[in-house]
C-alpha cells in the first residue's frame, strides 16, 4: 500500500535555536495507525502541529520534508494549506468540551466543514450531516443536528468531533490524546469508533497518546518519543514483544499491576528534561541506569536492529545491525525490590467506619428558590477501612466518588449517615485531633498548591491551624524531615511550587497531608495527572509510607491497574451507590456485577489479549434523575423486568465479597449486609 504520509527529518525549533522536535521521520500507509507514544513534554503535540503547520508564535520548523498523498506540505502557500486542513488531513483534540463552539449547533459546525471542503449547501449538507452523525453512532441524529454542544455528554462531543473530522473525507486523521479526558467505558466506545471508521474508509491515522493500553489496542506502528526525538520505532507486535530502548523497557516496567503487588515498581528516577535542555549526548542518559560515559558525550544515531525496528541507543549501535540482540536484551532492572510479605495479611483494627452516608444537593428553581429536586450524589454508602489497608473506590466520573471524600472530611454537609473515625463519631463539628487524623491528597498537583506560597509555608499551614509543633525551630525540623520522607531536597522549602515538576508537586502535596500525622489519607486520583514513570514513583512512595506509618488509604481512582497494584479492598460505585465490594482479587478476578465486568473489559490491556468485550452503551445517567429500579438497568444487557422495577438488595457471596444485583441474588438472599 502507498504511503499516505511520509515525514523525514522533521525539525521544529524555537527562535533561539532550541530544538523541540528533533529529526523525526516516519511513514504511515493507508489504513494504518501510527502511534506516537511518550510522556508529556516530549514534543508529541508539536509534531502534529508542525504537520498541520499550526505552530504557535515563536516556533518554526526547518529543513524537513513531509509529503501527504504526494503533496509536499512545507512547500505550500498558506492559502493552499488551509484547503488541506480539514480536507485531506483532519485533527481531533484532547478536550472535546473545549474544541466545539458553544454558541453554534452541532449541525452548523459540521456544515461549516462540509461547505468549505465539499462545497455542499442547504439540504444536501444537512442530509450529509445526519449521515455523518449516524456513522459515528449518535442515536437519533436528525434531532441532534439542531442541538448545542452543552446538550451532549463528553463522549458524544468527542463523537461529534470525529464526525467533523470525517466531514472533509480526510486521507489522514491526526488524533491528539482523543480519549484522555474520557472515562474508560467512553474511551472504549471512541476507540472502537475510530477503528471502525478506519476500516471503512481506509484512512491513515496518526494517534498521539501516553497510554500503553491505547497503543496496544490501536497501533500498527509505534514511535516512542522522548525529549523531542523518536527513540524507538517498530510494529506494535515487535515493540510489545521485545522493547529495545531502555526507556521503552522502563515504561513497560513502570506500569502497575497485580504481579508487582508486593514489590515497588520500577520507577524511572527524575522526570522528562525540559525541551531543549540537553544538547549533548543521549537525552535519556541522566535517567538511564545502563548509561556509560559515551552516552553523555555522543548523541546516539539511529540503528536499524531488524527491518522496521529501529532504536536510538548506543547499546545496539556497536554490534552492527542484523546481529541478534537477544542476549544483549537489557535486563528489566527492577531495583532490588524487597519482595517483602505484606505487613498486614489480616486486617487491623477498624480505622474509618461509614454507614449509610447520604449527601444530597438540592436543586433550586424559580424566583423563590424552591427546592424542586435532589441530586443524590452519595446515596447510602457504607464503608469500612481497617488501619494500614487500602480501600479503592472505583467508578466513572460523576458517580459521586469525590463528593464522598469531601463528605468524609466534613467539607460538604452530609444529609444522614454516620462516620466514625477510630471509634469517634464525626458530626458537623470536627475537633483538631480528628482533622489531623484524616487528610486528603488531590488530583491535580497544579491546582492543589497555592502558587503564591513557598513550600515551607504550605507545609506549615496545617501545623499552624492544628497547633502542632509550636515553636519555629521544631516546625522547621519537622518540615525538613517531611521533605526527606517524600524524597525532596531540603533546599526545596524556600522555593515556590511552580519551580517543581508535576511529580515533585504531588510529593509536596503528600508532605502537606503528612505534616499533621494523619492516620487516614484520602487520595483522590493522585496519579491521574501524572506520567507513567512519575506515577510509579508516587505509587512507590504511597506504598512505603503506608508500611512505615500504618496509614489507611481511601484511594479514589478510575485506573484499574493502580487498583490491582495498590488496593486491598475494592468498592465499585455507580451513581452514588456501591454496587460491588470485595477484596481486590475477588472484584478484579471474578467480578459479579455487570457494571464491574463492563468496566474491567473497557480497560485497554497491554497484553492485547482478545477478550470478549462488553460494550456499554450510552453514558452515566444524571444523579438528579436516576433510573427507576436498578440504576444500571438501562445500560445493562442482562436487565429484567424486576431490575427495572426495584433496586436489588446487597447480597453476600463470601465473607468479603458482596454485590447488589438480581443476577446473583439467588445465592443467599437472607444473608443481607444491613
Amino acid at each position: 500500500m502507498a504511503d499516505i504520509l511520509s515525514v523525514s527529518g522533521l525539525v521544529t525549533q524555537l527562535h533561539n535555536g532550541i530544538r523541540i522536535v528533533d529529526d523525526i521521520s516516519f511513514n504511515i500507509r493507508a489504513g494504518e495507525t501510527f502511534v506516537l507514544l511518550g510522556e508529556s513534554g516530549c514534543g508529541k503535540s508539536m509534531t502534529a502541529l508542525s504537520l498541520l503547520r499550526l505552530l504557535p508564535d515563536g516556533v518554526t520548523h526547518t529543513d524537513s520534508v513531509a509529503q501527504l498523498d504526494g503533496i509536499a506540505l512545507f512547500g505550500l502557500r498558506e492559502r493552499e494549506m488551509r484547503d488541506l486542513r480539514g480536507g485531506k488531513m483532519a485533527m481531533i483534540f484532547q478536550e472535546p468540551g473545549l474544541s466545539l463552539n458553544p454558541v453554534m449547533t452541532v449541525g452548523q459546525q459540521i456544515t461549516e466543514v462540509l461547505s468549505l471542503h465539499q462545497g455542499l449547501r442547504g439540504k444536501t449538507a444537512r442530509n450529509r450531516c445526519v449521515e455523518l452523525l449516524n456513522q459515528v453512532g449518535i442515536p437519533d441524529p436528525a434531532r441532534r443536528v439542531a442541538e448545542y454542544p452543552f446538550q451532549l455528554s463528553g463522549g458524544m462531543k468527542q463523537r461529534v468531533m470525529v464526525a467533523m473530522a470525517l466531514a472533509g473525507r480526510p486521507k489522514l486523521l491526526i488524533a491528539d490524546e482523543p480519549t484522555t479526558a474520557l472515562d474508560v467505558t467512553i474511551q472504549a466506545q471512541v476507540l472502537q469508533l475510530l477503528r471502525d471508521t478506519q476500516a471503512e474508509n481506509g484512512m491513515a491515522m496518526l494517534l498521539i497518546t501516553h497510554d500503553l493500553g491505547v497503543v496496544a489496542e490501536m497501533a500498527h506502528q509505534v514511535g516512542v518519543m522522548y525529549a523531542g526525538q523518536i527513540v524507538e520505532q517498530a510494529s506494535r507486535a515487535r515493540l510489545f514483544d521485545q522493547p529495545l530502548h531502555p526507556y521503552t523497557q522502563k515504561l513497560f516496567a513502570a506500569l502497575p499491576d497485580a504481579a508487582h503487588r508486593n514489590q515497588s515498581l520500577a520507577a524511572i528516577p527524575g522526570s522528562v528534561p525540559p525541551l531543549g535542555s540537553v544538547m549533548q549526548g543521549c537525552r535519556f542518559a541522566a535517567r538511564c541506569d545502563r548509561a556509560w560515559s559515551l552516552c553523555r558525550e555522543k548523541t546516539p544515531g539511529w540503528t536499524e536492529v531488524h527491518t522496521g525496528h529501529g532504536v536510538r541507543c548506543h547499546l545496539y549501535q556497536m554490534q552492527g545491525a542484523g546481529n541478534t540482540v537477544q542476549e544483549k536484551q537489557v535486563r528489566l532492572s527492577v531495583p532490588d525490590v524487597d519482595a517483602k510479605p505484606e505487613l498486614h495479611p489480616e486486617p487491623g483494627p477498624s480505622l474509618l467506619q461509614v454507614s449509610d452516608l447520604r449527601v444530597h444537593f438540592p436543586i433550586r428553581k424559580g424566583l423563590l428558590q424552591r427546592v424542586v429536586g435532589q441530586v443524590k450524589a452519595v446515596d447510602g454508602v457504607t464503608l469500612d477501612i481497617p488501619q494500614g489497608r487500602t480501600l479503592a473506590l472505583v467508578g466513572e466520573s460523576g458517580c459521586g466518588k469525590t463528593t464522598l471524600a469531601k463528605a468524609l472530611l466534613q467539607l460538604v454537609p452530609a444529609l444522614s449517615g454516620r462516620v466514625q473515625l477510630a471509634g469517634q463519631t464525626l458530626s458537623g463539628y470536627v475537633s483538631r485531633e480528628q482533622r489531623a487524623a484524616m487528610q486528603m491528597v488531590f488530583q491535580d498537583p497544579y491546582a492543589s498548591l497555592n502558587p503564591k506560597m513557598r513550600v515551607a509555608e504550605i507545609l506549615e499551614e496545617g501545623m499552624t491551624a492544628l497547633d502542632i509543633d509550636s515553636g519555629s525551630k521544631a516546625r522547621q525540623s519537622h518540615i525538613d524531615s517531611l521533605l526527606d520522607q517524600v524524597g525532596l531536597a531540603r533546599g526545596a522549602k524556600w522555593r515556590y511550587p511552580h519551580e517543581f515538576s508535576g511529580g515533585q508537586r504531588q510529593r509536596i502535596a503528600i508532605a502537606r497531608a503528612l505534616a499533621v500525622s494523619p492516620r487516614l489519607l484520602i487520595c483522590d486520583e493522585p496519579t491521574s495527572a501524572l506520567d507513567v514513570s512519575v506515577q510509579a514513583q508516587i505509587l512507590n512512595l504511597l506504598k512505603s509510607l503506608q508500611q512505615k506509618f500504618e496509614l489507611g488509604y481511601l484511594f479514589i481512582t478510575h485506573n484499574l491497574a493502580v487498583v490491582e497494584y495498590l488496593a486491598h479492598e475494592v468498592c465499585v460505585m455507580y451513581l452514588g451507590r456501591i454496587v460491588e465490594r470485595g477484596t481486590a482479587a475477588e472484584v478484579l478476578r471474578s467480578p459479579m456485577h455487570p457494571y464491574t465486568r463492563a468496566l474491567l473489559s473497557a480497560v485497554p490491556r497491554i497484553d492485547g489479549a482478545n477478550r470478549d468485550r462488553i460494550r456499554l452503551e450510552g453514558d452515566l445517567p444524571s444523579p438528579a434523575n436516576p433510573p427507576q429500579g436498578c440504576h444500571f438497568s438501562p445500560r445493562c444487557a442482562h436487565a429484567t423486568e424486576q431490575c427495572r422495577a426495584h433496586y436489588p438488595p446487597l447480597t453476600r457471596h463470601s465473607p468479603t465479597h458482596s454485590v447488589s444485583c438480581y443476577l446473583h441474588v439467588e445465592a443467599r438472599v437472607d444473608d443481607r449486609v444491613f
Binding site: 472530611l409 467539607l411 486528603m440 488531590f442 506560597m453 499551614e461 511552580h498
Partner: protein, 455 residues
Amino acid sequence: MSFMPVFLWSDKLIFLILAVGIACVWYVRQLEHLLVPWRRVARNPTAMVSLLVLSLFVLVGLLDTLHYRAALPDRNDGETVYSPEVLSVFDKLVTPLRTQTEKTYSAPLAVTLYAKESVIDASGHVLREYPRLRFGGAGLTDVRQRDADIFRRGLTGALAGLAAGLLIALGSKRWLVKRKWPMRALLASTLVISVLIGATVNLAAAYHVLGTDKVGQDVLYLSLKSIRTGLIIGTVTTLVTLPLALFLGVAAGYFRGWVDDVIQYIYTVLSSIPSVLLIAAAVLMMQVTIDMHPGWFTTLASRADLRLVFLCLILGVTSWTGLCRLLRGETLKLREMEYIQAAQAFGVSPLRILMRHIMPNVMHIVLISLVMDFSGLVLAEAVLSYVGVGVDPSMISFGTMINAARLELGREPMVWWSLASAFGFMLALVLAANLFADAVRDAFDPRLNRTWEAE
C-alpha cells in the same frame, strides 16, 4: 519664627501614606524572600526608568505638600502676624513663576499677548497691535531677537543640564554597578531628563515656557501644581476604594450565600445610581456645611482642602463597585481550587483563608486595575469641575485646567497650550505608573520567575 507650618487634612493623609510606605519598606528589607521580587523590579530597565519619572512627580507633589504661612513684616502688639495666604515649599522655590502673571493669554515662549489690543502710542494715535508682555521676554529690546535669544538660552540651559546630568551619572555609576541596576537605561534617561529640566529652567527664567492662561498665570506653574492634586485624588481615593472593594469582593466570592446576596445588592444599587448626581448632592451638602461654619477654617486654603478630601471620599465610595465585581468573580474561581479545599481540610479559619490564600492570588488584578483607575479618577475630577462640583475653584488641578481650556478650544485662533500641557503631564504620570505597576506585577508572579534566577 518667620513662618508657621500648616498641616492641611490632605497633608496629614499624605504623611500617613508616606509613613506606612516607609514602614513597609523597612519591613520588606528584613525578609529576604520579599526582597527578591523587588530586586527583580530593580533589574528591569522599563520599571526603573518609569520609577525615575514617577519619583520626579512625587518629589514635586511632596514639596508642594509642605505648607506654611509666612510672617508679615508688621506686628500686632509684639505678636507675629502671619499672612492669610498658605504657601508651600514648592511655591517658594518657583516664586517667579507664581508671581509673574500677565494680563491674559499668551502663547508658549511668546513675547506678546495672544490677541490684539488697542494701544495709544506716544503721539496719541490709537493702534491695534499685539502688546508686549510684562515679563515674557521683557529683557529684549527688539521682538525680532526672540528666536535667537530662545535658542541661546535653551542651549546654555541644556548644556548646564547635561553637565549636571553627567555629574549625577558619574557619581551614581559605581553604585548602580554594585547593585546590578540597569545602568545604561537609567543613565541615558537621567541625561535626557536633566537636559530637559536644564533647558526649561533657563527658559522659564525669562519666558512663559508653556504660555499663560486667561488670567495670565503661567501654565507651567499650573501644571506643576496640578500634580499634587492629581496624586491626592489618585491615592486618597484608592485608600477609600481598596478596603471596600477588596474585603467585600473576596468575602462575597468566598462565602457566597446570603453574604454574597447582600454585597451584590449593595453594589448593584450603588452602581445604578448616576454617580455624578450622587457626588453632586454630597459635594453641595458639604459646601453648604462649609459655608455655614466659617469659623472652622482659618484660611481659604484649608476650606479648599477639606472640599478636596471630601471629594476623594465620595469618589471612593462610588467607584469601588467595578473592582469589587472583578474580585468577586476571581474569588468564585479561586475558591474551587484544590489548595483552598486542602486548607479547609486542615480546619483553617475562613478569615485566614481569605488573607493567606485568596488575597495574594487576586493582587495582580488589584494592582493593575488601581493604576488603570488612577487616570479615570483624574478625569472624573475634570468632569465634576465642569459640573461645578469638583475641587474648589481656587485649587489648581488638571481638571480645572482642562475645564478652562475647553472654553477656548472653539476660538479662532485656538488656545491649545493649556489642554496640551495638562494632557502631556497626565500622560507622563499615568504612563509611568502603568509601566511600573506592570513590572511589579510580573516580578511578583512566581509563575514567570524562578527563585534561583534571581540569586
